[in-house]
């Protein structure tokens, strides 16, 4: 499965936005494909990439893998000194 950089990036953005909007969602590539109206295979590549750069959590492998949003580390009270 090959996919152009542009396509991949677009999917990545779509997925990121989906999860930012649904921070408590748990999705498989199949499920998300249905929701976003995208093909499963490229979506899987995008999701795995997002998991690799730790935007998403991934549990399980292959078709059974479930992705969910990983809230970024936030700290609102860092003293400057």
């Amino acid at each position: 499965m090959t996919i152009s950089d542009q396509e991949l990036l677009k999917l990545q953005m779509e997925c990121t936005m989906f999860f930012e909007n649904n921070p408590y969602a748990y999705e498989t590539a199949r499920g998300l494909a249905k929701k976003l109206g995208r093909a499963v295979e490229p979506l899987q590549i995008a999701l795995n990439r997002l998991a690799a750069i730790s935007i998403l959590d991934k549990r399980g492998e292959g078709n059974m893998a479930i992705y969910s949003y990983k809230t970024p580390y936030t700290q609102s009270e860092v003293e400057i000194h």
């Binding site: 950089d5 542009q6 990036l9 677009k10 990545q12 953005m13 779509e14 990121t16 936005m17 930012e20 909007n21 997002l50 750069i53 730790s54 935007i55 990983k70 809230t71 970024p72 580390y73 936030t74 700290q75 609102s76 009270e77 860092v78 003293e79 400057i80 000194h81």
Partner: protein
């Protein structure tokens, strides 16, 4: 095969010269190829030549057989044909390529005083009629020449051959260069048409150019670092992906130069080591062409020649220009690809922008900026936003892919370096910095409301990456700034409205003493109730605004209609609740309205008056919870008076537990009574207690009576207050 070098114009020129010579020498002249085929029209001073040309196949063949005896001549010579004494001058000359020999035939020459003798010879020879007749004519027509004269003519005809050869050669060179140029133009147009197939361009170029054996392109991959990204030609594959640095070897030297460089006869030069080592082997020469755009070196085109090849200087020059052009195409292709990649990354940013605008929440926008910036760089590892906090001495961070303590340390550094600088943004819109750990970070100031308020920083693997990503990240950061500005504006607007509301509230309550005092208390109660956990922290200000609005008259309210639509909706519900108080039926008021009703009710409650046990439309759970809060509040307040600062560390849940334990011990409550009391304190209704303990409501009432008696209190509120009193004590 008519030689391609004998093009029409060449033929005409040679013919012209041939005629001149013929006239001058009074000889018949014929120029032929090795097979005796005439190449130009003969200059016939003798009918013989005409006859020879027109003669039958056999006669011609016999004649050429005679001529062929002299094949291998390299200089013009006087040759006897058919009969000794019948002489011809044969002058050979070469084709421009040097592979074919042509001949100039001139004749006939007869030694003076031999004509009669030759006539007899011909007559008495065994030649058949046609040939004899021809030969006879030949002899009869020939002039008798002295030996010196013959020698002079030989030289002249030799000159003719030389001239013909020169004409051919120069014509050939012209044609060759023309053809080559057109081939090279073909290479160029391929290079232009198919930018992505540089390999094909290289191959084509090498086909056309004589002395090119390996051709390649080394791309700059980092500051001072190059990698061979494409290479074609036999034995060149070893070079693929080979890396070198600026100044290293010939290629490295070429990288330092703005101009094409050329080296020849470099077999023993140590600088050739890099190429030799990578499978090129021995080679004779190297040409290098820098590929640049603006001041930026993108890479080097190079051509290796294994052997010395003599190339036409004009062609060579043209090749150089051509390669430079190919280099330009590579450069523009690189830039275009770079731009395309930027555009690819910018395009989805449009959608992201829409999404971010809809978020209208600083934290969520920061999440998006971090997540999106990670998606936009080639080798994502980490991203962080450092944003000023409402308090000047603190910053807020959102990060991904960075260890938490490191993120905080980095945030401090950024805060000192960038946020505290009042000078504003760097003109480039970003800065590169290196962390203590050596991590390269690209940092973009987030500027809004007239000041740098945050920094978006993304870790990068190299400066090269920085160059490629900087524009798109700049776009993202700029977009983030703009959106944060809009959120900020919104907040300012809200603050403005709130200040306005407070002013109106202050002036309105001046006219209504009691209600104003009650509302002030309600505002405090809302704060405290939020700390107590009854409502979310962000609900308190909302309800406080609603409470303030309740004091205003209709006209003032309608002025604030747009700014406080949500609050006014709740206020409307609140007023409906007031109207329906005491009525029966099913009510469904929103929770904020219920809280407001309860808080304002208690705030207005005279301490001496026994409160109601129920408010119409308020859920019993909420009501009881608030009543409990009021009881606790009261006790805590009295406590605060006694021992300063006790309230700060006050924890209701712990107090509850301690209080119940104390009461159980003090008044000797049974296990079941303790359970009932715990539920009472947690604001359960009798019905709930019954359900939870699986006993009837009647039994619950009995338990309660016993508990109240033991504790000597008269109702729930007092019991709860006592539990908390003990809990605090």
């Amino acid at each position: 095969m008519i030689e391609k070098s004998w093009a029409m114009d060449v033929r005409k020129t040679v013919e012209e010269i041939q005629h001149t010579y013929a006239e001058f020498t009074r000889l018949s002249i014929l120029i032929v190829d090795g097979q005796g085929r005439p190449l130009v029209k003969p200059s016939s001073y003798h009918p013989f030549f005409k006859k020879l040309v027109d003669a039958d196949e056999e006669t011609r063949e016999r004649f050429w057989q005679e001529v062929r005896h002299y094949a291998g001549l390299t200089r013009p010579a006087l040759c006897d044909l058919w009969l000794p004494g019948v002489k011809f001058i044969i002058a050979p000359f070469k084709s421009p390529a040097g592979d074919v020999v042509y001949y100039v035939l001139a004749g006939v020459l007869i030694q003076s005083g031999t004509k009669e003798m030759l006539e007899e010879e011909v007559a008495g020879s065994g030649l058949y009629d046609e040939s004899r007749k021809l030969l006879l004519d030949l002899v009869l027509e020939a002039e008798e020449l002295s030996g010196e004269e013959a020698e002079t003519w030989r030289e002249k005809i030799g000159k003719l051959a030389e001239t013909a050869e020169r004409i051919l050669r120069s014509a050939h060179r012209e044609a060759y260069v023309r053809d080559r140029l057109s081939e090279l133009r073909g290479v160029l147009s391929t290079a232009r048409r198919e930018r992505d197939s540089i390999d094909r361009t290289f191959e084509q170029f090498m086909d056309v150019s004589g002395g090119s054996d390996v051709m390649g392109y080394a791309e700059r991959v980092g500051p001072g670092e190059y990698r061979v990204s494409r290479v074609v030609g036999e034995g060149g594959s070893g070079l693929q992906d080979a890396e070198f640095r600026e100044g290293e070897g010939f290629l490295g030297q070429a990288a330092l130069s703005d101009n094409p460089m050329q080296w020849t006869d470099i077999q023993r030069d140590p600088r050739s080591f890099f190429l030799k080592q990578n499978g090129i082997g021995e080679f004779y020469g190297l040409r290098c062409f820098p590929v640049r755009v603006g001041g930026e070196q993108l890479g080097i085109l190079f051509i290796v020649s294994r052997k010395k090849v003599q190339t036409d200087a004009l062609l060579r020059e043209f090749e150089d220009v051509l390669i430079a052009l190919v280099g330009e195409y590579i450069a523009s292709g690189t830039i275009e690809a770079r731009m395309e990649r930027q555009i690819q990354r910018l395009r989805p940013l449009m959608e992201v922008t829409r999404f971010m605008i809809s978020a209208q929440n600083t934290q969520r926008i920061m999440f998006m900026l971090v997540d999106m910036s990670l998606s936009l760089v080639w080798n994502p590892s980490s991203a962080i936003i450092v944003h000023e906090s409402s308090s000047g001495e603190k910053v807020q961070i959102v990060s991904r892919g960075i260890a938490n303590d490191f993120a905080e340390q980095y945030a401090r550094d950024v805060a000192k370096r960038i946020l505290r600088e009042s000078t504003g943004a760097n003109s480039a819109g970003f800065e590169l910095s290196q962390t203590e750990e050596g991590q390269l970070m690209i940092e973009y100031p987030i500027v809004y409301a007239g000041k740098t308020r945050g920094v978006l920083a993304v870790s990068l693997s190299s400066e090269q990456e920085a160059e490629e990503c900087r524009e798109v990240l700049l776009a993202l950061a700029t977009m983030g700034s703009i959106i944060l500005q809009s959120v900020y504006d919104q907040q300012q607007m809200n603050l403005q409205n709130e200040r306005f509301l407070k002013l109106m509230y202050t002036s309105a309550k001046a006219g209504q003493d009691d209600q104003g005092k009650n509302t002030d208390l309600a505002l405090r109660l809302l704060d405290e109730y939020a700390r107590y956990g009854g409502i979310a922290a962000e609900e308190a200000p909302f309800l406080q605004r609603t409470a303030m609005l309740s004091v205003l008259d209709d006209a003032s309210r309608s002025e604030l209609n747009e700014a406080f639509a949500g609050e006014l909706a709740v206020l409307k519900e609140y007023q409906e609740m007031l109207d329906s108080e005491g009525q029966t039926g099913t009510f469904s008021y929103s929770r904020p309205a219920q809280v407001l009703r309860t808080v304002l009710y208690f705030a207005a409650l005279d301490e001496e008056t026994a409160g109601r046990l129920h408010l119409t439309g308020v859920s019993p759970e909420l009501f009881n919870h608030f009543r409990k809060f009021m009881a606790v509040r009261h006790t805590v307040q009295s406590e605060v008076v006694l021992s300063d600062g006790a309230a700060a560390s006050f924890n209701p849940a712990e107090a509850e537990e301690r209080g119940i334990e104390a009461i159980v011990r003090e008044f000797g409550l049974s296990k079941r009574e303790k359970e009932v009391l715990e539920l009472v304190v947690r604001a359960s209704s009798n019905k709930d207690i019954a359900a939870k303990l699986f006993i009837s409501e009647h039994t619950v009432k009995n338990h309660l009576t016993n508990i109240f008696n033991k504790m000597s209190v008269s109702d729930r509120a007092q019991a709860i207050a006592r539990v908390f009193n003990r809990g605090i004590g």
